[in-house]
Symmetry: C2
Subunit: 254 residues, 2 copies
Amino acid sequence: MAGTDISKPDISSDWPAIILVEPQLGENIGAAARAMRNFGLGQLRLVAPRDGWPNERALATASGADQVLERAVVFPTTAAAIADLTFVAAATARRRELEKPLLGAEGCVAQTRSALAAGGRVGVMFGGERAGLSTEDVVRADVIMSYPVNPAFASLNLAHAVCVFAYAWRNADGAAPPPYVQIEPSPAASHADLDRLFRHLEDELIAAGFLFPPEKAPTMMRNLRTTLQRAALTDNDVRTLRGVIKALTGRRGT
Amino acid sequence: MAGTDISKPDISSDWPAIILVEPQLGENIGAAARAMRNFGLGQLRLVAPRDGWPNERALATASGADQVLERAVVFPTTAAAIADLTFVAAATARRRELEKPLLGAEGCVAQTRSALAAGGRVGVMFGGERAGLSTEDVVRADVIMSYPVNPAFASLNLAHAVCVFAYAWRNADGAAPPPYVQIEPSPAASHADLDRLFRHLEDELIAAGFLFPPEKAPTMMRNLRTTLQRAALTDNDVRTLRGVIKALTGRRGT
Protein backbone atom coordinates (compact mmCIF):
# COMPACT_ATOMS: atom_id res chain seq x y z
CA MET A 1 0.00 0.00 0.00
CA ALA A 2 3.06 2.28 -0.26
CA GLY A 3 2.48 4.91 -2.91
CA THR A 4 0.21 4.83 -5.92
CA ASP A 5 1.09 3.06 -9.13
CA ILE A 6 -0.77 4.95 -11.83
CA SER A 7 -0.41 2.10 -14.30
CA LYS A 8 -2.34 -0.17 -11.93
CA PRO A 9 -5.39 1.71 -10.83
CA ASP A 10 -7.14 0.56 -7.69
CA ILE A 11 -10.02 -0.82 -9.64
CA SER A 12 -11.06 -4.26 -8.67
CA SER A 13 -13.06 -5.13 -11.74
CA ASP A 14 -13.00 -4.11 -15.35
CA TRP A 15 -16.40 -5.74 -15.70
CA PRO A 16 -19.22 -5.11 -16.00
CA ALA A 17 -18.92 -2.23 -18.46
CA ILE A 18 -21.15 0.71 -17.56
CA ILE A 19 -22.71 2.10 -20.74
CA LEU A 20 -24.23 5.58 -20.72
CA VAL A 21 -26.44 6.03 -23.77
CA GLU A 22 -26.62 9.62 -25.05
CA PRO A 23 -25.78 11.28 -21.75
CA GLN A 24 -26.30 15.04 -21.77
CA LEU A 25 -24.56 16.65 -18.80
CA GLY A 26 -20.84 16.28 -18.26
CA GLU A 27 -21.55 16.67 -14.53
CA ASN A 28 -23.54 13.45 -14.54
CA ILE A 29 -20.87 11.56 -16.49
CA GLY A 30 -18.27 12.69 -13.97
CA ALA A 31 -20.49 11.84 -11.01
CA ALA A 32 -21.20 8.40 -12.50
CA ALA A 33 -17.44 7.81 -12.89
CA ARG A 34 -16.93 8.80 -9.25
CA ALA A 35 -19.60 6.35 -8.09
CA MET A 36 -18.07 3.62 -10.26
CA ARG A 37 -14.65 4.07 -8.72
CA ASN A 38 -16.15 4.30 -5.22
CA PHE A 39 -17.46 0.79 -5.72
CA GLY A 40 -14.55 -0.59 -7.70
CA LEU A 41 -15.82 -0.51 -11.29
CA GLY A 42 -13.51 0.73 -14.02
CA GLN A 43 -14.94 0.38 -17.50
CA LEU A 44 -17.07 3.24 -18.84
CA ARG A 45 -18.56 3.37 -22.35
CA LEU A 46 -20.33 6.42 -23.75
CA VAL A 47 -22.78 6.37 -26.64
CA ALA A 48 -22.89 9.71 -28.47
CA PRO A 49 -22.46 12.06 -25.48
CA ARG A 50 -24.30 15.28 -26.35
CA ASP A 51 -21.47 17.69 -25.60
CA GLY A 52 -18.67 15.66 -27.14
CA TRP A 53 -15.73 14.02 -25.45
CA PRO A 54 -13.57 14.67 -23.48
CA ASN A 55 -15.70 16.96 -21.35
CA GLU A 56 -14.29 19.47 -18.87
CA ARG A 57 -17.35 19.40 -16.63
CA ALA A 58 -17.14 15.63 -16.35
CA LEU A 59 -13.57 15.94 -15.07
CA ALA A 60 -14.62 18.62 -12.60
CA THR A 61 -17.29 16.44 -10.95
CA ALA A 62 -15.35 13.17 -11.02
CA SER A 63 -13.51 14.28 -7.85
CA GLY A 64 -10.47 12.20 -8.66
CA ALA A 65 -12.03 9.37 -10.65
CA ASP A 66 -10.10 10.73 -13.64
CA GLN A 67 -8.71 7.32 -14.50
CA VAL A 68 -12.23 6.07 -15.20
CA LEU A 69 -12.91 9.03 -17.51
CA GLU A 70 -9.54 8.75 -19.25
CA ARG A 71 -10.21 5.12 -20.10
CA ALA A 72 -13.79 5.81 -21.27
CA VAL A 73 -14.51 4.78 -24.85
CA VAL A 74 -16.98 6.64 -27.05
CA PHE A 75 -19.26 4.81 -29.52
CA PRO A 76 -21.56 6.26 -32.17
CA THR A 77 -24.47 3.90 -31.48
CA THR A 78 -25.78 1.55 -28.82
CA ALA A 79 -25.30 -1.36 -31.21
CA ALA A 80 -21.60 -0.52 -31.54
CA ALA A 81 -21.20 -0.04 -27.80
CA ILE A 82 -22.49 -3.51 -26.96
CA ALA A 83 -21.24 -5.37 -30.07
CA ASP A 84 -18.56 -7.32 -28.18
CA LEU A 85 -20.70 -8.06 -25.13
CA THR A 86 -22.41 -11.38 -24.45
CA PHE A 87 -24.79 -10.26 -21.68
CA VAL A 88 -26.37 -6.84 -21.41
CA ALA A 89 -28.80 -5.42 -18.85
CA ALA A 90 -30.90 -2.32 -19.48
CA ALA A 91 -31.66 -0.06 -16.51
CA THR A 92 -35.12 1.42 -16.84
CA ALA A 93 -38.07 2.31 -14.63
CA ARG A 94 -40.54 2.84 -17.44
CA ARG A 95 -43.17 0.26 -18.19
CA ARG A 96 -42.30 -1.65 -21.34
CA GLU A 97 -44.44 -4.02 -23.32
CA LEU A 98 -41.54 -6.40 -23.61
CA GLU A 99 -41.40 -9.91 -22.27
CA LYS A 100 -37.90 -9.81 -20.93
CA PRO A 101 -36.72 -10.96 -17.55
CA LEU A 102 -37.22 -8.10 -15.10
CA LEU A 103 -34.74 -8.01 -12.24
CA GLY A 104 -33.95 -5.82 -9.27
CA ALA A 105 -30.38 -4.63 -8.75
CA GLU A 106 -29.39 -7.70 -6.71
CA GLY A 107 -30.91 -10.11 -9.22
CA CYS A 108 -29.19 -8.30 -12.06
CA VAL A 109 -25.88 -8.43 -10.22
CA ALA A 110 -26.30 -12.17 -9.69
CA GLN A 111 -27.04 -12.87 -13.37
CA THR A 112 -24.30 -10.54 -14.54
CA ARG A 113 -21.79 -12.22 -12.23
CA SER A 114 -22.85 -15.65 -13.51
CA ALA A 115 -22.39 -14.54 -17.10
CA LEU A 116 -19.00 -13.09 -16.24
CA ALA A 117 -17.93 -16.22 -14.39
CA ALA A 118 -18.89 -18.27 -17.46
CA GLY A 119 -16.38 -16.28 -19.50
CA GLY A 120 -18.81 -13.68 -20.87
CA ARG A 121 -18.32 -9.99 -21.43
CA VAL A 122 -21.03 -8.11 -19.60
CA GLY A 123 -22.45 -4.61 -19.43
CA VAL A 124 -25.26 -2.49 -18.02
CA MET A 125 -26.87 0.30 -20.07
CA PHE A 126 -28.27 3.51 -18.58
CA GLY A 127 -30.24 6.03 -20.62
CA GLY A 128 -29.72 9.78 -20.93
CA GLU A 129 -31.21 12.42 -18.64
CA ARG A 130 -34.12 13.43 -20.85
CA ALA A 131 -35.99 10.19 -21.32
CA GLY A 132 -33.81 7.25 -20.32
CA LEU A 133 -33.24 4.36 -22.68
CA SER A 134 -35.28 4.13 -25.87
CA THR A 135 -37.39 1.03 -26.35
CA GLU A 136 -35.09 0.14 -29.23
CA ASP A 137 -32.14 0.12 -26.83
CA VAL A 138 -34.02 -1.94 -24.26
CA VAL A 139 -34.94 -4.53 -26.92
CA ARG A 140 -31.22 -5.17 -27.43
CA ALA A 141 -30.72 -6.10 -23.78
CA ASP A 142 -30.90 -9.60 -22.33
CA VAL A 143 -32.60 -8.48 -19.13
CA ILE A 144 -34.25 -5.36 -17.73
CA MET A 145 -33.08 -4.00 -14.39
CA SER A 146 -35.43 -1.83 -12.31
CA TYR A 147 -35.14 -0.41 -8.83
CA PRO A 148 -38.07 -0.43 -6.39
CA VAL A 149 -38.72 3.29 -6.85
CA ASN A 150 -41.61 5.48 -5.78
CA PRO A 151 -44.00 5.08 -8.75
CA ALA A 152 -44.99 8.73 -8.53
CA PHE A 153 -41.36 9.88 -8.73
CA ALA A 154 -39.54 7.16 -10.59
CA SER A 155 -36.87 9.03 -12.51
CA LEU A 156 -33.47 8.75 -10.90
CA ASN A 157 -30.59 11.06 -11.61
CA LEU A 158 -28.28 9.27 -14.08
CA ALA A 159 -25.31 9.10 -11.70
CA HIS A 160 -27.58 7.94 -8.86
CA ALA A 161 -28.82 5.09 -11.04
CA VAL A 162 -25.23 4.04 -11.79
CA CYS A 163 -24.33 4.40 -8.11
CA VAL A 164 -27.07 2.04 -6.92
CA PHE A 165 -26.00 -0.66 -9.37
CA ALA A 166 -22.30 -0.19 -8.53
CA TYR A 167 -23.12 -0.44 -4.83
CA ALA A 168 -25.16 -3.61 -5.37
CA TRP A 169 -22.35 -5.08 -7.47
CA ARG A 170 -19.72 -4.56 -4.82
CA ASN A 171 -22.04 -5.41 -1.97
CA ALA A 172 -22.48 -8.86 -3.51
CA ASP A 173 -18.86 -9.54 -2.59
CA GLY A 174 -20.29 -10.09 0.85
CA ALA A 175 -17.87 -7.67 2.42
CA ALA A 176 -20.21 -5.91 4.84
CA PRO A 177 -18.98 -4.23 6.90
CA PRO A 178 -15.81 -3.39 4.96
CA PRO A 179 -12.66 -4.72 6.61
CA TYR A 180 -10.76 -1.45 6.49
CA VAL A 181 -13.09 0.30 8.88
CA GLN A 182 -13.29 -2.66 11.21
CA ILE A 183 -11.37 -1.96 14.36
CA GLU A 184 -10.05 -4.66 16.64
CA PRO A 185 -12.71 -4.98 19.31
CA SER A 186 -11.36 -5.13 22.80
CA PRO A 187 -12.20 -8.51 24.38
CA ALA A 188 -15.49 -8.92 26.18
CA ALA A 189 -15.30 -8.82 29.95
CA SER A 190 -15.46 -12.17 31.75
CA HIS A 191 -18.32 -12.74 34.15
CA ALA A 192 -15.83 -12.86 37.01
CA ASP A 193 -14.75 -9.32 36.07
CA LEU A 194 -18.38 -8.27 35.90
CA ASP A 195 -19.04 -9.77 39.33
CA ARG A 196 -16.10 -7.82 40.77
CA LEU A 197 -17.40 -4.64 39.17
CA PHE A 198 -20.91 -5.06 40.52
CA ARG A 199 -19.62 -5.99 43.98
CA HIS A 200 -17.41 -2.93 43.99
CA LEU A 201 -20.36 -0.79 42.90
CA GLU A 202 -22.68 -2.35 45.47
CA ASP A 203 -20.18 -1.84 48.31
CA GLU A 204 -19.79 1.80 47.46
CA LEU A 205 -23.51 2.37 47.05
CA ILE A 206 -24.17 0.78 50.44
CA ALA A 207 -21.48 3.00 51.95
CA ALA A 208 -23.08 6.00 50.31
CA GLY A 209 -26.52 5.11 51.63
CA PHE A 210 -27.90 4.80 48.10
CA LEU A 211 -29.29 1.26 48.53
CA PHE A 212 -32.04 2.23 50.87
CA PRO A 213 -34.25 0.82 52.29
CA PRO A 214 -32.15 -2.35 52.68
CA GLU A 215 -34.96 -4.70 51.63
CA LYS A 216 -35.07 -2.97 48.23
CA ALA A 217 -31.31 -3.26 47.74
CA PRO A 218 -31.28 -6.61 45.89
CA THR A 219 -33.83 -5.40 43.33
CA MET A 220 -32.04 -2.11 42.84
CA MET A 221 -28.73 -3.89 42.27
CA ARG A 222 -30.37 -6.38 39.93
CA ASN A 223 -31.79 -3.55 37.85
CA LEU A 224 -28.47 -1.71 37.76
CA ARG A 225 -26.69 -4.86 36.71
CA THR A 226 -29.20 -5.53 33.95
CA THR A 227 -28.77 -2.01 32.63
CA LEU A 228 -24.99 -2.18 32.61
CA GLN A 229 -24.80 -5.67 31.15
CA ARG A 230 -26.94 -4.56 28.23
CA ALA A 231 -23.93 -2.49 27.17
CA ALA A 232 -21.96 -5.70 26.43
CA LEU A 233 -19.04 -4.45 28.50
CA THR A 234 -15.47 -5.15 27.44
CA ASP A 235 -12.40 -5.60 29.61
CA ASN A 236 -11.57 -1.98 28.99
CA ASP A 237 -15.06 -0.82 29.90
CA VAL A 238 -14.90 -2.66 33.20
CA ARG A 239 -11.53 -1.11 34.04
CA THR A 240 -12.87 2.31 33.11
CA LEU A 241 -16.03 1.91 35.15
CA ARG A 242 -14.10 0.76 38.20
CA GLY A 243 -11.94 3.85 37.78
CA VAL A 244 -15.08 5.94 37.60
CA ILE A 245 -16.40 4.45 40.82
CA LYS A 246 -13.09 5.04 42.58
CA ALA A 247 -12.94 8.60 41.32
CA LEU A 248 -16.49 9.37 42.38
CA THR A 249 -16.07 7.87 45.83
CA GLY A 250 -12.73 9.64 46.14
CA ARG A 251 -14.50 12.94 45.55
CA ARG A 252 -16.89 12.00 48.32
CA GLY A 253 -13.86 11.65 50.55
CA THR A 254 -14.33 8.01 51.56
CA MET B 1 -54.71 7.38 -8.58
CA ALA B 2 -56.69 10.15 -10.28
CA GLY B 3 -54.87 13.46 -9.93
CA THR B 4 -52.37 14.55 -7.35
CA ASP B 5 -53.33 15.77 -3.92
CA ILE B 6 -50.58 18.18 -2.96
CA SER B 7 -51.52 17.97 0.70
CA LYS B 8 -50.78 14.23 0.64
CA PRO B 9 -47.40 13.78 -0.95
CA ASP B 10 -46.57 10.40 -2.41
CA ILE B 11 -44.11 9.66 0.31
CA SER B 12 -44.43 6.27 1.83
CA SER B 13 -42.48 6.88 4.99
CA ASP B 14 -41.75 9.89 7.12
CA TRP B 15 -39.07 7.83 8.84
CA PRO B 16 -36.18 7.49 9.02
CA ALA B 17 -35.20 11.15 9.06
CA ILE B 18 -32.24 11.90 6.81
CA ILE B 19 -29.92 14.34 8.57
CA LEU B 20 -27.32 16.25 6.57
CA VAL B 21 -24.71 17.71 8.90
CA GLU B 22 -23.17 20.97 7.67
CA PRO B 23 -23.79 20.35 3.98
CA GLN B 24 -22.05 22.84 1.71
CA LEU B 25 -23.50 22.69 -1.80
CA GLY B 26 -27.17 23.35 -2.45
CA GLU B 27 -26.85 21.04 -5.46
CA ASN B 28 -26.08 18.13 -3.19
CA ILE B 29 -28.94 18.92 -0.83
CA GLY B 30 -31.30 19.03 -3.81
CA ALA B 31 -29.91 15.82 -5.28
CA ALA B 32 -30.22 14.11 -1.89
CA ALA B 33 -33.87 15.20 -1.69
CA ARG B 34 -34.48 13.79 -5.17
CA ALA B 35 -32.95 10.43 -4.21
CA MET B 36 -35.02 10.41 -1.01
CA ARG B 37 -38.26 10.92 -2.90
CA ASN B 38 -37.22 8.38 -5.56
CA PHE B 39 -37.13 5.78 -2.82
CA GLY B 40 -40.05 7.05 -0.78
CA LEU B 41 -38.40 8.92 2.09
CA GLY B 42 -39.79 12.27 3.12
CA GLN B 43 -38.13 13.74 6.19
CA LEU B 44 -35.02 15.85 5.70
CA ARG B 45 -33.14 17.65 8.49
CA LEU B 46 -30.28 20.06 7.89
CA VAL B 47 -27.65 21.01 10.45
CA ALA B 48 -26.19 24.46 9.77
CA PRO B 49 -26.16 24.38 5.96
CA ARG B 50 -23.24 26.55 4.84
CA ASP B 51 -25.18 28.73 2.40
CA GLY B 52 -28.27 29.20 4.52
CA TRP B 53 -31.78 28.03 3.88
CA PRO B 54 -33.82 27.98 1.68
CA ASN B 55 -31.32 27.52 -1.13
CA GLU B 56 -32.11 28.19 -4.79
CA ARG B 57 -29.57 25.69 -6.09
CA ALA B 58 -31.07 22.95 -3.97
CA LEU B 59 -34.46 23.58 -5.57
CA ALA B 60 -32.88 23.55 -9.04
CA THR B 61 -31.35 20.09 -8.62
CA ALA B 62 -34.24 18.50 -6.73
CA SER B 63 -35.99 17.90 -10.09
CA GLY B 64 -39.42 17.97 -8.53
CA ALA B 65 -38.66 16.74 -5.05
CA ASP B 66 -39.61 20.22 -3.84
CA GLN B 67 -41.97 18.85 -1.23
CA VAL B 68 -39.03 17.20 0.52
CA LEU B 69 -37.10 20.49 0.54
CA GLU B 70 -40.11 22.53 1.64
CA ARG B 71 -40.61 20.27 4.65
CA ALA B 72 -36.90 20.28 5.55
CA VAL B 73 -36.12 21.58 9.04
CA VAL B 74 -32.90 23.42 9.88
CA PHE B 75 -31.10 22.92 13.20
CA PRO B 76 -28.12 24.81 14.62
CA THR B 77 -26.30 21.74 15.94
CA THR B 78 -26.21 17.97 15.52
CA ALA B 79 -27.33 17.58 19.13
CA ALA B 80 -30.46 19.63 18.41
CA ALA B 81 -31.15 17.77 15.17
CA ILE B 82 -31.22 14.38 16.87
CA ALA B 83 -32.60 15.43 20.25
CA ASP B 84 -36.02 13.82 19.68
CA LEU B 85 -34.66 10.64 18.09
CA THR B 86 -34.26 7.31 19.85
CA PHE B 87 -32.02 5.55 17.30
CA VAL B 88 -29.42 7.24 15.15
CA ALA B 89 -27.00 5.81 12.60
CA ALA B 90 -23.91 7.67 11.38
CA ALA B 91 -22.81 7.13 7.78
CA THR B 92 -19.05 7.19 7.51
CA ALA B 93 -16.28 5.44 5.64
CA ARG B 94 -13.45 6.72 7.78
CA ARG B 95 -11.75 4.52 10.30
CA ARG B 96 -12.83 5.44 13.79
CA GLU B 97 -11.38 4.31 17.06
CA LEU B 98 -14.85 3.81 18.41
CA GLU B 99 -16.34 0.58 19.59
CA LYS B 100 -19.75 0.97 18.07
CA PRO B 101 -21.67 -1.57 16.05
CA LEU B 102 -20.55 -1.28 12.42
CA LEU B 103 -23.19 -2.18 9.86
CA GLY B 104 -23.55 -2.24 6.11
CA ALA B 105 -26.55 -0.52 4.51
CA GLU B 106 -28.77 -3.60 4.76
CA GLY B 107 -27.84 -4.24 8.38
CA CYS B 108 -28.46 -0.60 9.22
CA VAL B 109 -31.84 -0.72 7.47
CA ALA B 110 -32.78 -3.83 9.45
CA GLN B 111 -31.86 -2.27 12.82
CA THR B 112 -33.49 1.03 11.92
CA ARG B 113 -36.68 -0.74 10.90
CA SER B 114 -36.69 -2.69 14.16
CA ALA B 115 -36.27 0.49 16.16
CA LEU B 116 -39.07 2.12 14.18
CA ALA B 117 -41.36 -0.88 14.59
CA ALA B 118 -40.74 -0.71 18.34
CA GLY B 119 -42.16 2.80 18.36
CA GLY B 120 -38.86 4.66 18.09
CA ARG B 121 -38.00 7.79 16.13
CA VAL B 122 -35.06 7.03 13.89
CA GLY B 123 -32.57 8.90 11.72
CA VAL B 124 -29.42 8.54 9.67
CA MET B 125 -26.72 11.23 9.69
CA PHE B 126 -24.51 12.08 6.72
CA GLY B 127 -21.56 14.47 6.94
CA GLY B 128 -20.74 17.46 4.78
CA GLU B 129 -18.74 17.37 1.54
CA ARG B 130 -15.42 18.47 2.98
CA ALA B 131 -14.73 15.86 5.60
CA GLY B 132 -17.86 13.91 6.40
CA LEU B 133 -19.07 13.55 9.96
CA SER B 134 -16.85 14.69 12.80
CA THR B 135 -15.87 12.11 15.38
CA GLU B 136 -17.94 14.09 17.87
CA ASP B 137 -21.01 13.57 15.67
CA VAL B 138 -20.27 9.86 15.23
CA VAL B 139 -19.96 9.40 18.99
CA ARG B 140 -23.58 10.55 19.33
CA ALA B 141 -24.82 7.77 17.06
CA ASP B 142 -26.01 4.35 18.16
CA VAL B 143 -24.47 2.55 15.19
CA ILE B 144 -22.05 3.30 12.37
CA MET B 145 -23.10 2.55 8.80
CA SER B 146 -20.43 1.97 6.13
CA TYR B 147 -20.67 0.89 2.53
CA PRO B 148 -18.23 -1.64 1.03
CA VAL B 149 -16.31 1.04 -0.86
CA ASN B 150 -13.01 0.92 -2.68
CA PRO B 151 -10.55 1.68 0.15
CA ALA B 152 -8.41 3.77 -2.19
CA PHE B 153 -11.38 5.93 -3.21
CA ALA B 154 -13.76 5.80 -0.31
CA SER B 155 -15.37 9.24 -0.34
CA LEU B 156 -18.86 9.18 -1.82
CA ASN B 157 -20.67 12.22 -3.08
CA LEU B 158 -23.13 13.29 -0.33
CA ALA B 159 -26.24 12.69 -2.45
CA HIS B 160 -24.88 9.32 -3.62
CA ALA B 161 -24.41 8.27 0.00
CA VAL B 162 -28.02 9.22 0.79
CA CYS B 163 -29.19 7.48 -2.39
CA VAL B 164 -27.60 4.15 -1.48
CA PHE B 165 -29.21 4.15 1.96
CA ALA B 166 -32.59 5.21 0.56
CA TYR B 167 -32.38 2.44 -2.02
CA ALA B 168 -31.49 -0.14 0.63
CA TRP B 169 -34.34 1.10 2.81
CA ARG B 170 -36.96 0.70 0.12
CA ASN B 171 -35.43 -2.46 -1.25
CA ALA B 172 -36.00 -4.08 2.14
CA ASP B 173 -39.72 -3.89 1.42
CA GLY B 174 -39.00 -6.92 -0.73
CA ALA B 175 -40.65 -5.33 -3.73
CA ALA B 176 -38.19 -6.37 -6.40
CA PRO B 177 -39.02 -6.09 -9.20
CA PRO B 178 -41.46 -3.22 -8.65
CA PRO B 179 -45.03 -4.15 -9.49
CA TYR B 180 -45.69 -1.17 -11.71
CA VAL B 181 -43.21 -2.23 -14.37
CA GLN B 182 -44.32 -5.85 -14.24
CA ILE B 183 -46.25 -6.73 -17.35
CA GLU B 184 -48.70 -9.57 -17.55
CA PRO B 185 -46.65 -12.43 -18.99
CA SER B 186 -48.37 -14.33 -21.72
CA PRO B 187 -48.96 -17.94 -20.60
CA ALA B 188 -46.28 -20.53 -21.17
CA ALA B 189 -46.85 -22.89 -24.09
CA SER B 190 -48.07 -26.36 -23.23
CA HIS B 191 -45.91 -29.29 -24.21
CA ALA B 192 -48.60 -30.40 -26.66
CA ASP B 193 -48.25 -27.03 -28.42
CA LEU B 194 -44.47 -27.43 -28.40
CA ASP B 195 -44.77 -30.92 -29.87
CA ARG B 196 -46.97 -29.57 -32.66
CA LEU B 197 -44.49 -26.78 -33.35
CA PHE B 198 -41.51 -29.11 -33.55
CA ARG B 199 -43.44 -31.63 -35.71
CA HIS B 200 -44.42 -28.79 -38.03
CA LEU B 201 -40.80 -27.63 -38.18
CA GLU B 202 -39.50 -31.13 -38.74
CA ASP B 203 -41.97 -31.83 -41.56
CA GLU B 204 -40.96 -28.67 -43.33
CA LEU B 205 -37.25 -29.25 -42.82
CA ILE B 206 -37.59 -32.76 -44.22
CA ALA B 207 -39.49 -31.36 -47.20
CA ALA B 208 -36.75 -28.79 -47.68
CA GLY B 209 -34.02 -31.42 -47.58
CA PHE B 210 -32.42 -29.79 -44.52
CA LEU B 211 -32.44 -32.93 -42.34
CA PHE B 212 -29.79 -34.73 -44.29
CA PRO B 213 -28.37 -37.34 -44.10
CA PRO B 214 -31.47 -39.07 -42.63
CA GLU B 215 -29.56 -40.92 -39.90
CA LYS B 216 -28.46 -37.54 -38.48
CA ALA B 217 -32.03 -36.16 -38.52
CA PRO B 218 -32.99 -37.20 -34.96
CA THR B 219 -29.91 -35.54 -33.48
CA MET B 220 -30.38 -32.41 -35.53
CA MET B 221 -34.01 -32.11 -34.43
CA ARG B 222 -33.11 -32.80 -30.83
CA ASN B 223 -30.56 -29.99 -30.90
CA LEU B 224 -32.98 -27.58 -32.53
CA ARG B 225 -35.64 -28.45 -29.98
CA THR B 226 -33.21 -27.92 -27.11
CA THR B 227 -32.23 -24.52 -28.48
CA LEU B 228 -35.81 -23.35 -28.92
CA GLN B 229 -37.04 -24.69 -25.60
CA ARG B 230 -34.34 -22.73 -23.84
CA ALA B 231 -36.29 -19.64 -24.85
CA ALA B 232 -39.16 -20.70 -22.50
CA LEU B 233 -41.69 -20.20 -25.28
CA THR B 234 -45.12 -18.78 -24.57
CA ASP B 235 -48.39 -19.49 -26.35
CA ASN B 236 -47.84 -16.35 -28.36
CA ASP B 237 -44.29 -17.30 -29.25
CA VAL B 238 -45.45 -20.70 -30.56
CA ARG B 239 -48.12 -19.09 -32.71
CA THR B 240 -45.60 -16.59 -34.04
CA LEU B 241 -43.00 -19.26 -34.81
CA ARG B 242 -45.56 -21.39 -36.64
CA GLY B 243 -46.45 -18.32 -38.66
CA VAL B 244 -42.76 -17.81 -39.40
CA ILE B 245 -42.41 -21.40 -40.62
CA LYS B 246 -45.48 -21.03 -42.82
CA ALA B 247 -44.24 -17.73 -44.21
CA LEU B 248 -40.77 -19.09 -44.96
CA THR B 249 -42.09 -22.24 -46.63
CA GLY B 250 -44.61 -20.10 -48.54
CA ARG B 251 -41.72 -18.10 -49.96
CA ARG B 252 -40.18 -21.36 -51.06
CA GLY B 253 -43.41 -22.09 -52.91
CA THR B 254 -44.30 -25.39 -51.23
